[in-house]
Symmetry: D2
Subunit: 397 residues, 4 copies
């Protein structure tokens, strides 16, 4: 049965506004664990609406939306930091689900994927290392040494988002140091109760270590032994799987960013309309405020069309065909988000720096958008390299 | 019969590249009059291709493309300064044709519109005045005094593009100074051989006065008498017609700008691929060049989608529905064009400043994009005003 | 005896690097109260160096530096969030000291100024109100009603920095609502143990409410009674005193910002030199990193010269002569700081988002620079207004 | 006798305003040759004022100003395109004079330098080549083959400013292709009546080929024979002399740019004050115009201080000590100039695109500032390299 996308979007929009916005003040001021019961209630409501795990095929327990439709849902969810979690499509679980759907063995799917889709457990993705540049994903220190039917994994990871409380991790580790750079690493499923696995700390980010789902872990892997059967895909395919994970992942991120940007502009406009400079003179009467609003409106509209167009190409042509665009939307939308948030903060004055609105939190946490998944600088060079190939040269990036 | 748009675009693209690019060096170095014969030949070729006046209905003598299709053609034509002229859809004639199509009396259509569509004559649009801010279109000095069955027009206009050689002008003049601001002016057809009409000069723009079609005239109207029947639409409708003219006009302009930007990026990339910094090291190996190319690629792609989406809305909802977007694409695409051209010039080094390529000419002449049709600052405020109405306030702009 | 400024700067620089940098990790991770004993030790060291309260005349208990010299010291102190506090010249106390030095009665000076200079007590400045735009300082809700020999103060203030633990506040309150806008308010000394004074909360800013000196208070004044003798200067002079306070205060702020920016660039360069993209290839080999470093180097150098030049003008000509420059450095240096911090964060990648360096904290807290003391937008208009007076017009701002 | 610098500046300022501004309309609209007689008259006036060749020692026939003082004069002259020419300190002659003063033999000085200082002849500097990147000055195609007591020079140069009408050129040519890159070239004096020297064309720049002093030549050197005695300095010192020429040359350029920027801001403000948006409402009442003026005011003030500070360092420490700053002011001031001109054009609307003011000409011709003397990108990397050396790494640029 085909989806009625406009109706779904309206349902999501209303739910987000009525059920999630009111939780934000508690999210900004209370420990997450105090909020967990109500978040679980909201998840139940979403399940009853038939919108749980919207990106997952129906036969696997999701709502079965195709990428372009999920992209639009993702925008709606992005308007609040709680959206994706409550709908069961939060990163990094969403990417891990996609990997397991495509490459998991039946045993891996049963043990790891099914409870993940149902929202009974959470997971994390452990690739980035503190000692190695994130912009060079083929240069890793963590090794998975083969020992009979097991891998013995040793190394240190960080910025493993949501590691705190995760049931398992997908770990990138070098399985053959002598292979060509792009064939050195494999992805391995590691339950977090494996001996040798230590969550060293939740990294203090922007002033807070966070907790549970909303955290970024630093992980010590001290000779963690896991069966060879825990490897995802063939040996040496780690980098390739990581790339594959990125395609739809970028769409998800970019559309979530559009949602964040729309929320920021919404707050920006509401402020411009309600704040008075003197009796009867709203802030929005200032030309500098008007121009900021217009610039944000234009940039968001253009960015959305670019991401949706990319989602359609990705759906139609696959990751290879849309490769340049996948890199392009990364830096382009991250840049738009950055500027839109900055303008909204400026219009709020001192209030924009506080946690009395969700804006300040968005401003500081979304600064990461220009950095994670490869810094913008790398993606710009990737795009240029592809473009210049059409002019007969292959430049280094 | 439906159009095969992709085939048309391919035809136009090839024609532009093979028949028009080679004329550019002459365009940049010779008086226009020496180029006119070959331009007329090219126009004949276009007529034979069945692509003459692509925006005009077939029954009127054009190729009959709808706005979104013509927008794409306009991009292809915009890649060279000669494109629109050779295809019979050059501004300001294209806007004047649209006005006459919608509001011309049978007599006006026969005398002015038909030869205009056929490319036998040219026209101009005389609205802007040297003494009055272009950003305030309801504040005009030029008057059309009623004297029996005639209007007697007196005033001074400038930046009447292509006035040199035009057979007639559409002149904005105040017909009732006591009416409400938006009802004061009317649009009147004035043959340029009317006594009292003087082309004072072609204004030197960016170092050149230009000539013929490629010029911007300053006009003296010293009691020009024209019959009342020369008025377009009803008395007092001048401002409204001007606004109406702007909707599709913006799409044409914006898509032409996209074409200019694509050409600039094309030259940019070709330069990055071919220019060597030292033996074997192309300019494109520099990260700053790569990032500039990537930024331009992203911004053009986003801008095109925004304009095409606006063209579709305008086609579907009309000018009122797309009003915000019409203002929004004006400043947004003008900004993209400005940055794309600047980056391409920078990559060309000293060559970019010369007339050895078409780039320098584009860079300096398209600076006007941020100014004409209302400066960007005005359009940003218009957008903000509309946006803020949705938040319950009506701010001044 | 004249100061040996270069020697003082070298002493301060060394002290900051050796005695204060090592405290930063604790500052970023522990409650402030646990750090207070060691900060008090450092203050003692500074007193022994003869550098305590560097901006205060020697006869009043300070080190007696003139404004241009103190400006340079302020830069050195700004390299760490702890600098100004440890040297006894922290805002807002520094501004309050200046006000009391110039306008305090002997009784006010004895009770409030002397212990403040000695560092025995702290103070705050309560002007901004949650319900009124900070950009319009003559529009206040807080009133001070005369009742015999007392003022009865009622209102709500926020962003009273360091209110938590302050012994007294200088409160801006309307003493004559019928006076001309700039003569409505007065500044009144209010001990924080006055009945009716409540520190409602430390406002959560950038994720943290903070505590003690490092906090921003929201204050309820519920009919606080203080003697009329607590008024600073004459009745109605509140706005004028606030303006007067701003002149040197801008220099202090701006030079502190230069110090923050220098620290950020220092971290930026150290990162570029030490971080490897692959073996033997430092981050600094990337052109985008090089260009960011060069831009920051240039912008900081230019900004410093501008502030020092302004300090010299202010010393030579007084606040009126340097008025445009005082507004000009506000927005100009705040802008430089913003960009320098952003570039340094970007070069740090994920590390720049953590609290493992002081950079992230600087990045998020110094965002306020573009907002406090009047948002940049207001200062730009003030500058333009002054400039345009020289062209014969007096424009509204 | 010491100079009274403020008095000199006032004299120059008045002369520029009263004697040169009025010539600008003719400069913009007439062939240069028609203007030459009046320019020669103005030169005579300058000689009578004792300000001819202000940068040249008195004993050599100049006014004897030190670099910081000449820098300030250069700003005043930069306010009009005619300034430096009329005062006998126009590029490239000014740099050629400095080279000959420092490295010329008595015979070279008598034949080339003396008439150059007196303004009887003009010269050019032929370094840049069409086929080689200007950013790599050690990679040249032009060769000077030794043949007995002569050099035989062969090659092609372009952007040799003012070559049209020059009496001689200083030509960079490879004298030893096997030497280390920085020792390959020498500088050789070549009279333009040497057989084999051809001015192929004045390059059309920004729409105009120009003529005489105001032109940029493309030169063919077809086996030009000149005596070995025409070499400047020792063989292989060409690159070193070119670098040496750049130090003071950058100060001259940068201060001229400051002058251009001040003139643009002056026109910007005059326009903002006089242009009405509607009766009684000046353009300067718009916040966007105000902010542009304030940004330009701040950026020019900061840039001037940076250049003057660099001039003082260069005077005190020589080229090596000020090397980073010399690169830094190149890109920094060029960037400021670019933005200031763009804002001024925008405020002028359509008028800013015309040649009815000097602004449009400045806008298009000063675009070159970001390109010549090494593109900004190169200088930024040079600055970063020097800065990073202080952090223990030597990165490639």
């Amino acid at each position: 049965m085909a989806h009625d996308i406009p109706a779904i979007l309206e349902t999501v929009r209303t739910f987000v506004r009525e059920q999630l916005y009111p939780l934000e003040p508690r999210f900004l001021s209370q420990p997450l664990r105090e909020l967990m019961p109500v978040l679980e209630e909201r998840r139940q409501q979403v399940r009853r609406l038939g919108l749980w795990a919207p990106h997952i095929p129906r036969e696997e327990g999701g709502a079965g939306l195709a990428l372009p439709a999920f992209a639009r849902v993702s925008e709606e969810l992005g308007r609040t930091p709680l959206g994706h979690y409550v709908f069961g499509c939060q990163a990094p679980d969403v990417g891990n689900m996609e990997l397991l759907l495509r490459h998991g063995t039946p045993a891996q799917r049963e043990r790891y994927l099914s409870p993940l889709i149902r929202g009974e457990i959470r997971s994390c993705f452990a690739m980035t290392e503190p000692g190695r540049a994130g912009s060079n994903p083929v240069w890793l220190e963590t090794t998975a040494r083969r020992d009979g039917g097991h891998y013995v994994i040793r190394g240190r990871k960080w910025f493993a988002s949501a590691a705190d409380g995760a049931a398992f991790a997908i770990v990138m580790a070098v399985t053959d140091a002598d292979a060509k750079p792009h064939r050195r690493a494999s992805q391995i499923l590691v339950p977090t109760d494996t001996p040798g696995w230590t969550l060293v700390r939740n990294i203090p980010v922007m002033g807070h270590a966070g907790e549970g789902y909303f955290s970024h872990g630093e992980i010590e892997l001290a000779d963690c032994r896991v069966p060879v059967e825990n490897r995802l895909g063939e040996e040496g395919s780690g980098f390739q799987l990581a790339q594959e994970r990125l395609g739809p992942g970028r769409i998800h991120h970019a559309m979530r960013w559009i949602g964040v940007a729309e929320r920021a502009l919404d707050l920006h406009c509401a402020r411009a309309a309600s704040r008075e400079l003197r009796p009867g003179v709203p802030l929005g009467s200032r030309q500098s405020v008007q121009h900021d609003i217009a610039d944000s409106r234009a940039e968001i509209d253009a960015a959305r069309l670019l991401v949706l167009d990319t989602a359609e190409r990705l759906e139609a042509e696959g990751g290879q065909g849309a490769r340049v665009r996948i890199s392009l939307i990364k830096f382009y939308v991250a840049g738009v988000l950055d500027r839109v948030l900055d303008r909204a903060v400026q219009a709020h004055g001192a209030l924009g720096l506080t946690d009395d609105t969700v804006l300040g939190s968005m401003w500081r946490h979304e600064r990461a958008a220009r950095i994670y998944d490869g810094p913008d600088e790398v993606h710009k060079s990737v795009v240029a390299r592809q473009v210049l190939k059409g002019y007969g040269v292959d430049v280094e990036v």
